[in-house]
Symmetry: D2
Subunit: 310 residues, 4 copies
Amino acid sequence: MALPPELRALAAEVSNWGRWGDDDELGTLNLIDDAAIARGLAAARTGVRIPLAMRLDANGPQLGNVPGRINPLHTMVAINQTYTGDVGDACFNDDTITMGLQAATHWDALGHVGYDGFLWNGFPASTVSADRRLTRCGIHRVTSVVSRAVLLDVARAKGVDMLERGYPITEADLESAVELAGLRPEPGDIVLVRTGKMALFKARDREGYTISPSPGLTVGTIPWLRRHDVAAVAIDTFAMEVWPGEDPAVLFPVHMIQLRDVGLFQGQNFDLEALSAHCAADGAYEMLLVANPEPVTGGAGAPTAPVAIK
Amino acid sequence: MALPPELRALAAEVSNWGRWGDDDELGTLNLIDDAAIARGLAAARTGVRIPLAMRLDANGPQLGNVPGRINPLHTMVAINQTYTGDVGDACFNDDTITMGLQAATHWDALGHVGYDGFLWNGFPASTVSADRRLTRCGIHRVTSVVSRAVLLDVARAKGVDMLERGYPITEADLESAVELAGLRPEPGDIVLVRTGKMALFKARDREGYTISPSPGLTVGTIPWLRRHDVAAVAIDTFAMEVWPGEDPAVLFPVHMIQLRDVGLFQGQNFDLEALSAHCAADGAYEMLLVANPEPVTGGAGAPTAPVAIK
Amino acid sequence: MALPPELRALAAEVSNWGRWGDDDELGTLNLIDDAAIARGLAAARTGVRIPLAMRLDANGPQLGNVPGRINPLHTMVAINQTYTGDVGDACFNDDTITMGLQAATHWDALGHVGYDGFLWNGFPASTVSADRRLTRCGIHRVTSVVSRAVLLDVARAKGVDMLERGYPITEADLESAVELAGLRPEPGDIVLVRTGKMALFKARDREGYTISPSPGLTVGTIPWLRRHDVAAVAIDTFAMEVWPGEDPAVLFPVHMIQLRDVGLFQGQNFDLEALSAHCAADGAYEMLLVANPEPVTGGAGAPTAPVAIK
Amino acid sequence: MALPPELRALAAEVSNWGRWGDDDELGTLNLIDDAAIARGLAAARTGVRIPLAMRLDANGPQLGNVPGRINPLHTMVAINQTYTGDVGDACFNDDTITMGLQAATHWDALGHVGYDGFLWNGFPASTVSADRRLTRCGIHRVTSVVSRAVLLDVARAKGVDMLERGYPITEADLESAVELAGLRPEPGDIVLVRTGKMALFKARDREGYTISPSPGLTVGTIPWLRRHDVAAVAIDTFAMEVWPGEDPAVLFPVHMIQLRDVGLFQGQNFDLEALSAHCAADGAYEMLLVANPEPVTGGAGAPTAPVAIK
């Protein structure tokens, strides 16, 4: 079922269409201004680096639940291969990979989801094709993702290691996390939301991580993120939003409205466990985040290997 | 032909085996210490971000000259696909990719090249296999690459837009670039070497970029890089080293000695054109560089989407 | 430019829409009846087997001229791998492949080409999608291809080893080949057309084979094939039809009319050199042909490893 | 554990090494002589064609139990794509595939399994590499597979639809099937062994088909197949041999001895259900079988789309 009237109203309310011009394909990433970068650099106090990516290999979170989105298949095309037959010469190891672009830690392109025939900023859905892929709102438009990031550790704010299955994250939860963090996201910041669910994957419960009812964002958080003018939001779950959704008749409303109407850049499968522990230990919940997507021309998403620098 | 006596002597001289312990798989990346990070953050003065990656698509630099190393094949597995048939519902675009891990802008894993049966730090070449790939010195060991970087713009230092075909970059050339830069790399810095050759690719001369005789590093630069204890070196060419090599009987001696003996982390196909222009304009040749490789478990290399922050 | 009036008239004239029912997805393959099979079995006199497939490997005919259609990338996922570490145990070699389905010797699915919004038998072009591929007229509908085949060796009939570049094969050429063969195709037969062009590929002139002006079928042969009610036609070239086409404003009219209107099953890159020599030697130009496509669900084409049995 | 003494003795006893010369890479396929072909053609009485291949798609039997062996990933690279933008012009649908070569109905190359450092006919296991794959005993050596085939319907001979889990097929079982068939395999014939297990896959019990204890050949059938000098054996299971094996300390002894010592060409995942019903109905258990593997250069296996012609 399409968006019911109240969600259509919400979409209209939070819409950023035209805000950065009719030809814009970057959405909220436009909000990363000099001030945001300066905040980010200032947040990098000690230089400690905390990587946020899951590994890319066959043991990834994909379980076939999204058709075509496969875990990486990584194969060697050369093993200790010399060009001369003499192992005293350079012996090369070389390899290839086949993967869903959203197989593990990734950003969605703004064109990943649309509805009613349109993508972000009113670009027609027909701009997507098999031969040219995303000619509008493709991930290659995003040449870097650098800003201050704020960890909103919703799980820790609620005093748990992991939010329970299907827990719907509300505006109130985000506010609790703001309180824990001791700082509020400012326009151009990146928000990292932690549910703690990554612990299931680390414990090798892939079904629990990927398929089971999942904690995640509710539609109620959309105005909050919009109001704060965040540049991007990333989360430590497979699906971003609460699953199953709040209204079983409406599938993926958060994806729909965030990507298409707000133009809010979003990422999934970010591993925030080590970051959470570090922030809890030193009390600093802000950082410089660099999380560039691989520049796949016309991509509907791309892997990223983010690093938080505190 | 294997390394002749003088190069074996060089290899022994610059060897870092054991320097960070017998179990080390990170090589010179170990040199990135707090001071290097602090230098990097200090170099990010204005927050301007300059991306350094080539696009990932079928029009990449691979021409079949390295067997198995193919340009990305990028395909859609879903186009505006609804789960319900109603285009008022979320319509998803989803895609996959197949590529050589070193197809475009990338880092080599330290295990990418070995000789005489050994990889970096004495790990046996036999630690590489088809089923487990690089069990030692794989790219996944490199969880982030963040440091100060210095652009050594050899072409600009020599007053040209592009070094000529097959130009052998010597220690003297690096010194000229240091002089142009007005600063010298310190231990833990990353060095970006520019030949200007990327202009050929941008002009759609793929054969010129990929296959023709190429400017690049000579064995004479190995002691210089070693002496400066650089953490990593990246270049704007396909092959890193001068091609054809200085001694036609010895193939890829720079790869051999840098990767296996020095454990010097190296990257190729970095697009340094915009960076070169920016540094020439503001006179600042240092920057914060963040260039994390995608964490492919056991990878012999991985794509990276670097950003220079000045 | 769309089909001009005379070709539209031709298409209407040769159309087989509805001939085998509104739900038919097999087209002329329906013509393979008991009589055709019996003729085929009778033609297998000595049991000599002549394979007709090109090899599947990176040295195939694809040169990037058809976007996305890549030569096979073949990689090992296991090399002499034991499950126990004891080489006295079973040591497995296992591999994977990535390829364009039409990379080498293949059949097109009837759904490979349509126009004006329709595929064979009036199925809408909209039945093709990224997520379900060809839901109509996919190659998986073709569970076997077995019949008598007749070699129409146009090159030999004209007294040459290879037709010249861009040579347009006409009805008269097919008749010459019939005369050389000493027999005429009957309804349900498969026709193999030889230009001799494969010799270029065998001589490693891939550009000559794949890209240069090519001999091939003209629109004038469409009524001839239709009149003879052939079940399928295969050829030893990349493109099936003469290239460039007879009218530079009309691209691929033979594909358009044969696939969409006639529903004539067609194959390309068949290696007919050994078969040609054999038939010339023993004077027998008929054979049992078995050429099953790999049953890719929803495929727009599939590789086949044909064998002619004489 | 390596082969125990009694199995080493068996291997020596059934060994065909050198039988067709020291340079032979075809093994028992050499046994397909004119007589076998003639028998096959004679067995094609009515011309009815029964395909034996499973579909190639993402819903195949691979469940990740064999690392790297993935079900086909099939993607469109062009959907109704015109070169001119005019849908009145040829609109192309084009696609690619990535798959384990043994993902569904396939033949193993003789080089698929070796032990003690050797493959079939004494070729060193070291002839397999990442860059050249199988340089000996690769599947490309098998340019066609055509002969008389005999269905040994072990399940039907035992009066069941499906042999029970882990049922060990013995010589006595094969003899029962010979009795049911009313004919005995002759030298050069292909033997198709039916367990009935494919019914699990058709009922969508993929775990049951692929992973659960499986009926299959025991080492006791090796001398029987050798004695009959069969050219090839194919079965309707994932694993060919009984699983778990008869001796839990010895993994895959049937693969080891059949492939390496006998050089017996073997195939798996053949769908024999329709064939079984047809043979039971008309009492004719012999047929012409054409089952060419796709000619992947250096392949350790390849898909095949077999057809039985009765």
